[in-house]
């Protein structure tokens, strides 16, 4: 009954103080976070970002990542007309072949969607725009490009100057200069993803393809797909393989190197203090010299490629694993080792049956966990040293026009990481039975 005897006033006062403190804290923490974010906004010049941001780039990126355009180009001097997907040489239609929406002849007629028609005549170029009228442009050596427009004001989607005419509509785009006339027509999808134009299997449906495959052409079909010059499936597959290889070699190599070293850094297995200290500082040093620095140093010695990436991961992770493994080894239960010793086991047997079984679950789960995260690191390191899918991605981004390839690589990278995540989780569950927590 001492509770009744207590004077409740000081207790209440204490409680009020505690509540006030908590309340202040719960206000102060968000306030500090907000203040910091405001500071970051100012130093990073977030306000000026909108001026620097390029909406045109965004538009190109988005539209290019799911659509493609076919160029129809006429050389005004020779009168030759060529057709090329994305204007690339690899996507050029072979001689005598043309898209079905183009009628070649003396006057090349190009049908665009919504009734838009462009005609490349012997002398002049005509663009028939429904709802607006006929635009005629006559390129000539001496006078530049002579343009005749329907009466009225020039709309802002037509750009006319002495030497150039550019019309951008929803149906397509026409540019006429003195030297050439060019039409872009846009289509959805990734053209030539399976077969390039020079392959006999281009444009075939899946059923027809299956028939050909059954007829004994499976090898040829696969070969045409695999060596596709536009999408380079073989190179992409190799790049993905290289990235996974870097992660695999780096992670498990680091595990192999770190395990014996980890014994040197533990209190219970390494009685010599100097060695223990040295081993621990070695781990700290290797971890502290970031993978960026290791990558730079190793790239100087080995040049670009998967080996450099694998070694960079190996060295960085040796430090991390050394630290994790020695912590695991310090937590080893001595009783099991004593038990093994009591049966007369030699030191090697003591380690084999007393120590290793205890740390294997920790070891494996860490290794597999790092395998997944290193797949991501390998992509990043590949972008710096030049190897694997990271290299392909940076190359595609640097050209600033192959956004469909960038989108493709991004999808592949995400799938690769997710599959590795799933795979390492599956392996972890298989190898470490009864480990419900996973990690």
């Amino acid at each position: 009954m001492t509770v009744m005897d207590l004077n409740s006033a000081p207790l209440k006062g204490q409680m009020d103080k505690l509540f006030l403190k908590k309340r202040l804290l719960s206000l102060a923490v968000p306030a500090v976070i907000l203040a910091y974010l405001a500071y970051v906004c100012v130093t990073f010049d977030v306000a000026g970002l909108w001026q620097r941001a390029s909406l045109d780039n965004a538009r190109t990126l988005v539209s290019d990542s799911y659509s493609y355009k076919t160029h129809v180009t006429r050389d005004n001097r020779s009168g030759e007309v060529s057709y090329a997907i994305e204007g690339e040489r690899k996507g050029t239609y072979p001689e005598g072949m043309s898209p079905e929406w183009v009628t070649p002849g003396d006057t090349t007629v190009i049908n665009l969607p919504d009734g838009h028609v462009v005609r490349f005549g012997p002398e002049s170029v005509e663009y028939d725009i429904p709802g607006y009228g006929l635009v005629t442009a006559t390129p000539s050596r001496g006078r530049g490009v002579v343009t005749e427009l329907p009466a009225g004001d020039v709309p802002d989607w037509i750009n006319v100057s002495k030497n150039r005419l550019a019309i951008t509509t929803d149906a397509g785009r026409l540019t006429v200069t003195r030297n050439r006339a060019e039409v872009f027509r846009y289509f959805m999808g990734w053209e030539l993803f399976f077969f390039t134009l020079d392959s006999p299997y281009h444009g075939m449906g899946p059923l027809t393809l299956a028939q050909h495959a059954i007829a004994g052409e499976a090898g040829a079909i696969w070969n045409d797909f695999w060596t596709n010059k536009m999408w380079q499936h073989r190179d992409v597959a190799w790049a993905l393989g290289e990235t996974i290889l870097m992660a695999f070699l780096g992670t498990f190599g680091a595990g192999l190197v770190a395990l014996p070293l980890a014994f040197l850094g533990t209190r219970n297995f390494m009685p010599v203090r100097v060695v223990r200290f040295a081993a621990r500082r070695l781990f700290d040093f290797v971890r502290g010299v970031d993978s960026l620095i290791w990558t730079v140093v190793l790239a100087r010695a080995f040049g670009p490629g998967p080996l450099t990436g694998a070694l960079a991961i190996l060295i960085t992770d040796t430090g991390t694993f050394g630290k994790i493994f020695s912590e695991a080894l310090e937590n080893v239960d001595e009783k099991q080792i004593e038990g093994i010793t009591s049966t007369g086991a030699k030191p090697v047997q003591r380690y084999r049956f007393g120590v290793i079984p205890q740390i294997t679950p920790v070891l494996l789960s860490q290794l597999l966990y790092f395998l997944e995260s290193n797949t991501r690191s390998a992509t990043i390191i590949g972008a710096i040293t030049g190897g694997g899918i990271g290299l392909l991605l940076t190359q595609a981004i640097i050209t600033q026009k192959d956004w469909e390839e960038v989108a493709y690589y991004i999808v592949l990278i995400i799938l690769m990481v997710m599959i590795m995540d799933w795979f390492s989780g599956w392996l972890r569950r298989r190898l470490i039975k009864g480990d419900a927590g996973g990690h």
């Binding site: 910091y36 620097r52 070699l249 100087r300 010695a301 080995f302 040049g303 972008a383 990278i413």
Partner: protein, 306 residues
């Protein structure tokens, strides 16, 4: 006891011999599988190494003697111009601050979004239980994207600078922390939430008053660990054009010989920062999560052995 063990074989249909035979058979099979796995693993490692070696510009056999050449060059030049080093360090300090700011802001923003995502995808506290799989997939995907992918695309859209790097790292952090946070949420006691909802608290109030106090220390500990990782990531992203110390390192390296003292100064800054942050956050994390628990566990173990 002796009786029991002596009678057991008599009662069971199997004789001791059978059991022993079965046991040795099982061990042998286990060893065989283990051995096969080991052989497979070694074969994979060797084949993998040879493939990597073949596809690399320079081979391991030629390169390994040259590994130390570059560090030696850099260090010897830095040693020659050791008087200039403090100046360089002061000069590059703002770049380091930028790298740290990128990492810190990205960790903060990522942790905020990660918290939200984890709360929305944990059974028992989700705002819209129907949408749990959706939020889980969002976390999975944002976790799977390497920072560099987002950063490079954003650099094209927004121009170089710290903001693309910050967004890229924050996105990945949100996914990574979201997953760790939801593991923490799984272990939360749901009683305070039930209590709060019984007095009519809204979802935000239930989370703020019932969940956050339980998970706070673990969240902060994971966020600190992530901050360490993000400093490294932000240095790397600088290397591909996102500003900060990585950008300066790339410039200093492209100058080549004669400017190695600058590169050395950056190496030192980066190294010291990473080590210092690792140590501080290690201490903090230890205090946040393990501090009390390990102490009690150790003392109880001591008590048991004594």
């Amino acid at each position: 006891m002796a009786d029991l063990s002596a009678q057991a074989p008599k009662d069971s249909p199997q004789s001791l011999e059978d059991i022993r035979a079965q046991y040795t058979e099982m061990t042998r099979r286990k060893r065989l599988y283990g051995g096969l796995l080991l052989v497979l693993f070694v074969a994979l490692m060797v084949a993998g190494f040879r493939t990597a070696d073949e596809r690399n510009a320079g081979s391991f056999a030629d390169g390994y003697q040259r590994v130390l050449d570059y560090p030696t060059e850099v260090l010897s030049e830095a040693a020659e111009k050791v008087t200039q080093l403090p100046g360089h360090i002061v000069h590059f300090f703002p770049a380091l601050v930028e790298t740290l700011n990128i990492a810190a802001a990205a960790t903060l923003i990522g942790a905020l979004f990660g918290t939200l995502l984890s709360l929305l995808s944990t059974r028992g506290m989700a705002r819209w239980p129907m949408l749990i799989p959706l939020f889980r997939r969002i976390m999975d995907i944002s976790r799977a994207i390497p920072e560099i992918v987002i950063a490079l695309v954003l650099i094209f859209l927004l121009g170089g600078g710290p903001v693309p790097a910050m967004i890229a790292i924050a996105l990945h952090t949100a996914g990574a922390l979201g997953k760790l946070f939801s593991e923490v949420n799984e272990n939360v006691s749901l009683k305070p939430i039930e209590g709060l909802s019984s007095v009519g608290a809204s979802w935000a109030q239930r989370i703020w008053l019932g969940v956050i106090p339980q998970v706070g220390p673990n969240y902060v500990s994971y966020a600190l660990l992530r901050f360490e990782i993000n400093i490294r990531a932000s240095a790397i992203l600088g290397f591909v054009g996102a500003g900060g110390i990585g950008y300066e390192l790339k410039n200093a390296m492209s100058w080549g010989q004669g400017k190695y003292d600058e590169a050395a100064a950056i190496f030192i800054l980066l190294f010291v920062t990473i080590v210092v942050v690792d140590q501080i956050s290690g201490l903090l994390r230890d205090r946040l999560t393990h501090g009390q628990r390990t102490r009690t566990r150790k003392s109880s173990r001591k008590g048991a052995t004594a």
